[in-house]
Subunit: 236 residues, 2 copies
């Protein structure tokens, strides 16, 4: 199981200079880990050597997905996944976002939560941004999880590339947002564990909406160019 005390990223951050945090011993949970995005992230993190627990509504589904991934990935129901993890990635569909998180408030207390949900609508013209009442999915998470350390990251990844075992490196930066510096530092370090990826701090949670919504634009890019677009931040 995990040892939240000894591997507390906040404590590490306080003593560490700009050098990247060592998050290699942290257990990463992926709520919604049976979906494309969640499964892809679980795969990449496990492949990078991270301990990963996939969460789903039922333990059976999660265990089946975990077994398929191999690499030591475990499966559990969402509550157990949250309890057993140090960092919990939220990759559930937007429709189930609020209900899932509201039910996990206790299990997620004290954890670093990484919201990667993109609230989008779709019609015949393609994707468009939805406008969550709280401002963004990440802000909704923060409102529902007052005892967690909520960040936002991993929005702009191609689930296709993440899951393609032939792809060695994921050529993209990961914008990491949050108001808790030690938490965003840890999430940046986690992103940096995946070959090709780099975690870039990109602002406070109040500026998460546009980062989440930009996926609608990347979908347009993908359509026009038959691509799996990612983003790099230049001059950093």
């Amino acid at each position: 199981m995990t040892q939240p005390e000894s591997v507390n990223p906040a404590a590490t951050a306080a003593t560490a200079p700009p050098a990247p945090l060592d998050v290699s011993a942290l257990v990463v949970g992926v709520l919604g880990g049976t979906g494309d995005q969640g499964r892809g992230l679980a795969y990449r993190l496990a492949r990078a050597g991270q301990q990963v627990v996939i969460g789903s509504r039922t333990a059976e589904r999660a265990e089946a997905a975990a077994e398929q991934l191999g690499l030591g990935v475990r499966g559990a129901d969402n509550a157990a996944c949250a309890r057993e993890s140090d960092i919990v990635i939220v990759a559930v569909p937007w429709e189930g976002h609020a209900d899932t998180l509201a039910a996990l408030r206790e299990e997620l207390a004290g954890k670093i939560v990484v919201d990667c949900v993109n609230p989008l609508g779709f019609d015949k013209q393609g994707a468009y941004a939805l406008k969550p009442e709280e401002g963004s999915a990440a802000q909704q998470a923060a409102a529902l999880l007052p005892d967690s350390r909520v960040t936002a990251a991993f929005h702009h990844l191609s689930a296709v590339l993440l899951q393609d075992t032939a792809v060695e490196e994921i050529d993209t930066d990961v914008m990491v947002l949050g108001d808790d510096r030690a938490a965003t530092d840890a999430v940046q370090a986690l992103a940096g564990r995946i070959p090709g990826m780099r975690g870039i701090f990109a602002g406070r949670l109040r500026n998460a909406h546009q980062v989440e919504s930009l996926v609608a634009n990347l979908i347009s890019v993908n359509r026009r160019y038959k691509a799996h677009a990612g983003l790099r931040v230049t001059d950093v």
Copy 2:
């Protein structure tokens, strides 16, 4: 002066295959060309060989800015700038955006309008996205200019880098949005005239808000990393 008939980008686009449009003969106006962003864009486009007219509220201010830039850049009041140009970049402050465009509806009729305005607010925590009633600055422009071909682009550029004469290339992609394919093609081609830049189609105008607002995130990046951040779209 300009010859809108013979250099109509729509006509060119209809006959041309994927090859980049030739926009080198088009006159580019820059409304708000005396501000940092506008002046920087005017400089880069003129340096790339484009005919550029800077627009400002008074012809005198525009002419002074144009003279400072050299490179054949002319200055004019906003109305004359719009009239004399084929493609008109809107780089005015958000506060003056609606009034400036409403007053130029006739002059901008039939023109390709490129909105690069980022509606942002600032407080002690930094920048944050404003929410224009129309959805975005670009959609406000489209609402005010029903006879123009409104696009959105050039949001994520560093005014510092644009204006730095020692900088040879601007290392960034330019997301180009719009509902008029020939117009976005022309704006992409225009972006591509500037060394280092590449114009990438990134969706319809209804998805402009997040592209405009993302500047708040880039401001956070610049603060954290002491950078002049830009964006590259990968896999395109």
